[in-house]
């Protein structure tokens, strides 16, 4: 069974909601749609307070090279444009909409009829993906059209589709592969056409045998698409780890996957691409897992972007009495929410609720230099050392020790027997080192 070589951990999988079919969450009364939902430059708001609005209408336009459009996920009236506290805990500009009815823009095909033939050419596909605000749905929310524009001098050889879902608890990609498999595969075919590659691999961790079986059967009808079962090991779904596992190439330090001829997209992105290109549908909804050991009804929901997280939790049986932490994303890389009014955004893959005991960090002790953090680091770094350097503000040395290569997977902190918050220090160090590097480049 294929996997990456360096490091990795195996947290308890806890895929409680794996057997739960995707349900459509009823329309909320209000949504707060952050106007910047991707990496890169903020988008410009193009609607005004009081405007009547329809589903799929553009509300914020991405104007830089790396930025993306945002569309309304509901119909109704814009009540205000104001700050909202999002999953990261920061205030972000958002369009507040009171929902009235469910009126969609003209020209959006809302049926579930599958359109198999891809008629657009490369440029049309990329333009359409850009227009419809498709971004990476694996969590990093990198604008998808940018990934498809291969820089001069580079050539894409392989398209890798990430169906790994290595985060414990999360099952949204799993359900998507089972229930929207064919549409997703057409999305893959579209991405292949846009990149001009004739080979695509879909990597899936071996704890989803039903998805592997189902897609392997379907992919027989898709030339050049191969399903690759992968060993269950975190962070298998990290872009660089996935490339290493599937095609055995190592993305050089500080470089992008295209350096080794690869482009990686998530299965959710492939589905969004299908909907944008074949159905003319902007990215206005996504599948979100709501789960946790104490959650009454763990589920997978199709949710409109901008829906407050609290509504999803209500649907799953409400916030348990002993809830201690609500996380947007999985337990390894997810962010703890400061407010249940935080809206679902394009990068929200799951809502995880932990009880009060689970929510507490273990007490911190001296580093005993056991080296376990080094053993598990998938990037071959020395987290104990980087944490020390960052603690003592020795950022130049941290840069030499490759702190910027850290993918923030959290394996080091997960495994540390002394309970040291290694990733906290590494994030801080990366942030400060990044500032130093940017200033140097400017000069």
């Amino acid at each position: 069974m294929k996997t990456f070589k360096l490091g990795g951990v195996h947290p308890e999988e806890n895929k409680i909601s794996a057997g739960k079919a995707i349900e459509v969450l009823p329309l909320p009364e209000k949504v707060y749609i952050p106007v910047s939902q991707s990496l890169g430059a903020p988008s410009t708001v193009v609607v005004e307070k009081g405007a009547a609005i329809r589903v799929g209408q553009l509300i914020a336009k991405g104007e830089s090279f790396i930025s993306s459009n945002v569309h309304s996920s509901v119909s109704g009236k814009v009540t205000k444009i104001d700050d909202v506290i999002d999953a990261s805990g920061y205030k972000r500009k958002a369009v507040f909409i009171d929902v009235e009815g469910d009126e969609w823009e003209e020209g959006i095909d809302r049926t579930r009829d599958i359109i198999r033939e891809v008629t657009m050419d490369r440029d049309e596909i990329i333009k359409r993906i850009n227009e419809k605000g498709v971004v990476g749905l694996g969590g990093a929310t990198f604008p998808s059209h940018v990934k498809l524009m291969v820089p001069d001098g580079r050539k894409a050889e392989y398209l890798l589709i990430n169906g790994v879902e290595c985060e414990p608890y999360l099952t949204s990609d799993h359900r998507l592969m089972l229930e929207r498999g064919e549409e997703m595969l057409i999305g893959v075919r579209i991405l292949m056409k846009a990149l001009g590659v004739d080979k695509a691999f879909i990597g899936i961790e071996n704890n989803k045998p039903d998805a592997i079986r189902y897609l392997s059967g379907l992919s027989a009808g898709f030339k050049g698409i191969e399903i690759i079962p992968l060993k269950v090991k975190y962070p298998q779904g990290g872009e660089k780890q996935l490339i290493k596992a599937v095609v055995n190439r190592e993305v050089p330090s500080g470089k992008l996957p295209i350096e080794v001829g690869c482009v990686v997209n998530n299965v959710g992105t492939a589905l969004a691409v299908y909907e944008a290109v074949q159905k003319n549908k902007p990215l206005v909804d996504r599948i979100v897992t709501v789960t946790g050991k104490t959650v009454a009804k763990p589920c997978n929901l199709l949710v409109r972007i901008g829906t407050p997280v609290g509504l999803l939790i209500e649907h799953a049986g409400g916030l348990p009495e002993n809830a201690g932490k609500v996380i947007s994303g999985g337990p390894m890389m997810g962010k703890a929410l400061t407010s249940l009014d935080a809206p679902v955004v394009k990068g929200t893959s799951g809502i995880l609720i932990m009880d009060g005991v689970e929510a507490k960090r273990t007490a911190q002790q001296n580093c005993i230099r056991c080296g376990r953090c080094i053993t598990v680091c998938p990037m071959g770094l020395e987290p104990y050392l980087l944490a020390q350097l960052s603690e003592h503000q020795l950022y130049e040395r941290a840069e030499k020790e490759k702190i910027m290569d850290c993918i923030e997977c959290g394996s080091c902190h997960f495994t540390c027997p002394a309970g040291r918050p290694l990733l906290d220090y590494l994030r801080l160090g990366k942030n400060k080192t990044g500032i130093i590097i940017r200033n140097r480049v400017k000069r």
Partner: protein
């Protein structure tokens, strides 16, 4: 509704803790504890009890009254040091010397550097070597093993260790074969099982190996240091033995006699004082293996494990900066 916790990811944590590691090591030492009591009787129990209590006491006193900080004597590390110190001394050692050793181990070896995790040297070995240099007579008078409930010599009789017999004999001009033929020589089986004179915990290779297997199964130690340590020692002593079997001890005897197995699995693998990367651990083990044989063959002492490990402990920071793990994407050979 109660307040929700907000903290950075990851939000889950492994079950292993410093405490579980330390008590795991204690469990791994149980077979050797039984063997030492079996061969040295209640004297062994006495030494271990004094050593452990003294180590815990000194750690508590220093943390509470000198540092005035949190007391961590229940994390298991002082317990490990206490047992290891007892393992490294003869069973007839007077109480006051044991207590002195515990004070040096915990006070100088560990707490003066800032406690667990900060000490550059293995604390038990610091204490042991201090005692060996300060009290050479008491530290090298080894009671002969006398199985519990079995016939044998009285407690008061002492004799040299297996390595000591070799050293004396070779210095007197005898050959290895002549020494091994003498009736007082313990032989391979006795050295394996533990029926030899020596420090309390080092005598039985088999009991120590049993503990080592447990530590491997619990992933408390990895193979790197033990394999490179033993590998280097066997290769080095093997070459000498092949060149001149009359004057150099064979590699198997090197492993079974003295403190090699105890040192390799229980002290060289001490996380705090050994390198962090696997490459560094291989270098560390090789260095310790080489030094052990060098000291045993050409040094003034018959045994070299403690010195070898302490010397390599001193090199640990250098090894850590010289031998980095392989970075992902550093050496690119794609195909």
């Amino acid at each position: 509704m109660s307040l929700l916790t907000v903290s950075g990811s990851p939000h889950v944590h492994t079950q292993q803790s410093v405490k579980s590691i330390m008590y795991g090591v204690v469990i791994a030492m149980i077979p050797a504890i039984f063997v030492s009591v079996y061969f040295f009787g209640l004297h062994a129990a006495r030494v271990m009890l004094i050593s452990v209590l003294a180590c815990l006491f000194f750690e508590w006193v220093i943390q509470k009254y000198l540092i005035k900080g949190p007391v961590t004597i229940n994390d298991g590390s002082a317990l490990v040091t206490g047992i290891l110190l007892a393992f490294n001394v003869p069973s007839n050692l007077p109480a006051w010397i044991i207590v002195t050793g515990a004070l040096v181990s915990i006070g100088i070896g560990k707490m003066s550097f800032g406690g667990l995790g900060k000490n550059p040297f293995n604390p038990a070995l610091v204490g042991r070597v201090f005692l060996l240099i300060s009290f050479p007579v008491q530290m090298t008078s080894w009671p002969l093993p006398k199985p519990l409930f079995g016939p044998g010599v009285t407690d008061a009789i002492t004799g040299p260790t297996t390595l000591g017999i070799f050293k004396e004999g070779l210095d007197a001009g005898k050959t290895v074969q002549e020494i091994m033929a003498s009736p007082s020589f313990p032989g391979y089986i006795n050295d394996l099982m533990g029926a030899q004179s020596g420090s309390m915990g080092e005598i039985s290779a088999i009991a120590l190996l049993l503990g080592a297997v447990y530590m491997f199964s619990r992933k408390i130690i990895t193979w790197h240091i033990p394999v490179s340590y033993i590998g280097t020692a066997v290769v080095f002593s093997g070459i000498l033995w092949l060149i001149d079997p009359a004057h150099y001890i064979d590699p198997v005897m090197h492993l079974l006699a003295g403190g090699m197995i105890l040192g390799v699995f229980f002290m060289a693998t001490d996380m705090v004082s050994s390198p962090v990367s696997t490459k560094g651990q291989l270098v560390f083990g090789a260095g310790a293996g080489l030094l052990t044989i060098l000291i045993r063959v050409w040094g003034a002492y018959p045994e070299g494990v403690s010195f070898a490990i302490l010397i390599m402990n001193a090199f640990t920071p250098l090894i850590n900066s010289a031998f980095k793990p392989k970075r992902f994407g550093e050496v690119v050979k794609n195909g």
